[in-house]
């Protein structure tokens, strides 16, 4: 018996030693001692793209296709073009599970991974974006948040490192209100109407509220705010309230399993799906397919990018999938979120290309890539050349404007696929700009940030 106890403790102690010992090893690795070794293995230099993804947990149904698209495009650039102007792309995935603390840990782990450090980060979560924004000022690594993140971060003078390329929650909610106004026959017809916002109870879901309240004051509609708690599978009470209040429209600001649950509950309470409008994160295949037939008629915004396959998909099939290198079993290929992941990767790669013009064809630091992001100009011709025709609207950024213009369309689920309605929507920037300025000023004051002077920097 005595002997047995000894064995037990030896095993335990060995286990513990293994866990902590490996950390010590890793700590040494991180201390930068073997940095030369790393550099030696990559003589030509590589451009390192960290990939924050979530393939598990409550948000996996949406996280998986996005990550697949993002990674597949990076692989395509390596396989088809031999990297970005000859500079090979390396990447590493880190699972955040959509949790802020895990996201921050991933960021810290990956930000110094290669000699030049991380190129840029796509946090893929508004919560993580908030936390990383705080760190970007010292680390000088750009944070790209196409269509999510902080709405006020489009002001490049305060948020020097944030790039909500192509849209924010203020532009998206503005477009939705405009679209609803159009359906009613003019924005002035919104008076007395009731619009409900069913939102994910997190920074993501709360972000559009200020703009909707601003629009509410302008047009005199009634705004109902209905939060849904993470992860969003329990919405009975929310939809009972909708049944009671009978809003004319429901805006859906959900993510992950919350979206499909909302549509199912709408079916169960008999709310017409035609009157439901999702933001661009609530309008992908995993959101509607679980609801089956009931999702027919549901609408959502779409930008970067609608479903479907274009020239770039052919390349991916040929250069990546044919070689058996597809990320995640080709899950979601050609779907909304896959395409969005791909588009995001493309914009990142284009930013590096742009920065190479100024800094030379070598691996670039995050600080240098920022210049590329601030001088990004993807016009219609470039979109066509890259094989993304029909998947995005042109984008052109500057030191002051980190969004680069926003445009989106509405698409409707017909029971088997998304049908895009013709006609681009555009936000009314005369409303949004003053709000951005006020919010950015408040942030700068709270964080004691010195604003950039863009006039001096552009060269």
């Amino acid at each position: 018996m005595r002997h047995q106890v000894g064995v037990k403790y030896t095993v335990l102690a060995a286990l513990l030693a293994a866990v902590f010992g490996s950390t010590a090893l890793q700590a040494q690795d991180k201390a930068g001692v073997p940095a030369q070794k790393k550099a030696a293995s990559a003589p030509a230099g590589e451009q390192f793209f960290p990939v924050l993804s979530y393939r598990t947990g409550a948000y996996a149904p949406n996280g998986v296709p996005f990550a697949n698209g993002y990674v597949d495009y990076l692989k395509l650039v390596n396989a088809r073009d031999g990297g970005i102007n000859g500079i090979k792309i390396t990447f590493e995935e880190c699972e955040t599970g959509y949790a802020t603390d895990r996201g921050v840990e991933c960021y810290e782990r990956l930000k110094g991974k290669s000699p030049t450090g991380a190129t840029l980060f796509h946090p893929l979560s508004t919560g993580i974006t908030f936390a990383l924004t705080d760190k970007s000022f010292t680390d000088k690594i750009p944070i790209i948040t196409p269509g999510y993140g902080r709405a006020d971060s489009m002001d490049g003078t305060v948020f020097a490192w944030n790039f909500p390329l192509g849209g924010t929650y203020w532009t998206s909610s503005d477009m939705l209100v405009q679209h609803i106004g159009k359906k009613e026959g003019g924005l002035d017809k919104l008076k007395g109407k009731k619009i409900a916002l069913v939102y994910h109870d997190s920074p993501y879901g709360k972000e559009p509220i200020p703009l909707l309240q601003e629009r509410q004051k302008m047009h005199g509609f009634e705004l109902l705010l209905l939060p849904v708690t993470h992860p969003g599978v329990e919405q009975k009470a929310t939809w009972l309230q909708i049944r009671q209040q009978r809003p004319d429209y429901v805006l859906l600001w959900g993510w992950g399993v919350m979206n499909s649950t909302s549509i199912k509950e709408a079916v169960a309470t008999g709310y017409p799906r035609e009157k439901m409008y999702g933001v661009w994160w609530s309008g992908a295949e995993p959101d509607v397919t679980p609801a089956g037939e009931g999702a027919k008629g549901y609408n959502a915004l779409t930008f970067l990018a609608p479903a479907g396959q274009g020239a770039v998909h052919k390349d991916i099939l040929k250069f990546v999938h044919a070689k058996g290198e597809a990320a995640g079993n080709k899950e979601g290929f050609g779907e909304v979120l896959y395409n969005r992941g791909m588009t995001n990767a493309m914009m990142s790669v284009e930013a590096v290309k742009r920065a190479q013009i100024r800094y030379g064809k070598k691996p670039l630091k995050g600080e240098e890539v920022r210049w590329g992001l601030e001088n990004l100009a993807i016009d219609a011709a470039a979109i066509k050349r890259l094989g993304f025709e029909g998947f995005m609207a042109p984008i052109s950024t500057s030191c002051v404007d980190h969004e680069g213009g926003s445009a989106a369309q509405i698409h409707t689920w017909d029971g088997s696929k998304w049908v895009v309605e013709p006609g681009m929507l555009q936000p009314d920037m005369s409303i949004i700009k003053p709000m951005i300025r006020a919010s950015a000023e408040k942030y700068a004051a709270e964080k004691k940030i010195v604003k950039r002077d863009c006039a001096k920097e552009t060269s």
């Binding site: 403790y9 095993v11 866990v19 490996s22 991180k30 993804s53 110094g112 908030f130 709270e446 964080k447």
Partner: protein, 354 residues
């Protein structure tokens, strides 16, 4: 042979009651302090500080707080992350609204606010006990989360419900680099460890332990349960409040109520169970284990040259984490602190065990 107490005679009560009665332990402690204060900052990189050491130091404070309540006083709480949230938001509002306050004072005040809230939620412990109380403390968890998500004043009317902090400044010292944060937190942790160590061997600590071992019997010998239980709740929440403020200001920088959710509460519980209930040292072990394990598990496949998809790695992480917890409970239900004690005992006899 080296580690034994022969020949170390105590000639006063004070000497007999000191914290480290064995001379070798004192030498070891001094060496350890020199190591963590002087050597570690010189050799380690930012990643280790930011992702391992800083969370470890803060969570150790929280774990000590929880251990005072659960391990020493025997009152189970599943909602201690909520008291961390109270501390964090209290500190945020104090810094925002009274900017001239010194941060140390802010910390203490934040801790006091958390203690007050902890007192209120400790009241049910006078009526209910055991696992019933554990689930009842979940009410604190969910209610407090909700309050901070809903009452706009607490977040300074931030439209997204997320708050952010500026780097801390005190006595003209701006704590913004990882090493500075580490040194600051380490000093705090040492202070709080000393306080906790002394609390549990003072009369109040003995009252708590009497409550834990058998409340009816304790009452019979004249310990007031109201006083003992509520002080435990207050002190425990005070610790967690301070840990929460540090978690927000030093580790996260920007946070939303979700940062202090049930998962964090459960992780705190794991820490004290794995580390050892009723042991301050165990909190260190437990916190280290819980901070390090997921990160190691996450990276093991890559090190051993066996690349698997991130999804698989993450699932494996869940499974191994769960399995390890069960394994530890089965092999050593008294936690790592007990293991440490056994190791010391063996060392005392080594190399002649018989």
């Amino acid at each position: 042979m080296i580690y034994r107490e022969n020949g170390q005679f105590k000639s006063s009560y004070a000497a007999d009651q000191q914290m480290l009665p064995i001379g070798q332990d004192r030498v070891f402690m001094v060496a350890l302090l020199v190591f963590v204060f002087a050597v570690l900052p010189a050799v380690l990189g930012d990643y280790v500080f930011l992702s391992l050491l800083i969370p470890f130091l803060i969570l150790t404070i929280a774990a000590i707080g929880l251990n005072l309540l659960v391990g020493y006083c025997g009152q189970i709480s599943l909602g201690h992350a909520a008291f961390m949230a109270v501390g964090a938001y209290a500190a945020y509002n104090l810094v925002l609204r009274v900017p001239q306050l010194n941060f140390l004072l802010v910390l203490v005040l934040a801790g006091l606010v958390a203690a007050a809230v902890g007192l209120v939620f400790g009241i049910p412990s006078l009526r209910i006990k055991g696992l019933y109380l554990g689930v009842a403390t979940l009410a604190a968890q969910f209610f407090i989360d909700w309050v901070f998500a809903r009452v706009k004043w607490f977040t300074n009317y931030a439209h997204s419900g997320s708050v952010q902090t500026a780097p801390i400044e005190m006595f003209g010292w701006t704590i913004d680099s990882p090493v500075e944060k580490y040194v600051f937190l380490l000093s705090l942790l040492i202070v709080f460890t000393l306080i906790a160590k002394n609390l549990v061997r003072s009369h109040i600590g003995r009252e708590w332990m009497a409550m834990r071992d058998m409340d009816v019997a304790a009452e019979v010998i004249g310990i007031r349960p109201v006083y003992a239980k509520l002080t435990a709740f207050a002190v425990s929440s005070f610790y967690c409040g301070i840990a929460g403020a540090l978690w927000g200001f030093m580790h996260l920088g920007a946070w939303e109520p979700l940062a202090f959710n049930l998962t964090l509460s459960l992780n705190l519980l794991f820490m004290i169970i794995i580390g050892g209930m009723g042991s301050v040292l165990g909190c260190y072990f437990g916190a280290a284990f819980i901070v390090v394990l997921p990160i190691v598990l996450n990276q093991v496949p890559a090190w051993i040259g066996f690349p698997i998809s991130t999804a698989m790695a993450s699932h494996l992480e869940f499974m191994i984490f769960g399995a390890l917890i069960v394994f530890f409970l089965v092999v050593e239900p008294n936690g790592l602190a007990r293991l440490w004690a056994i190791g010391k005992e063996k060392l005392r006899l080594w190399p002649f065990p018989h």
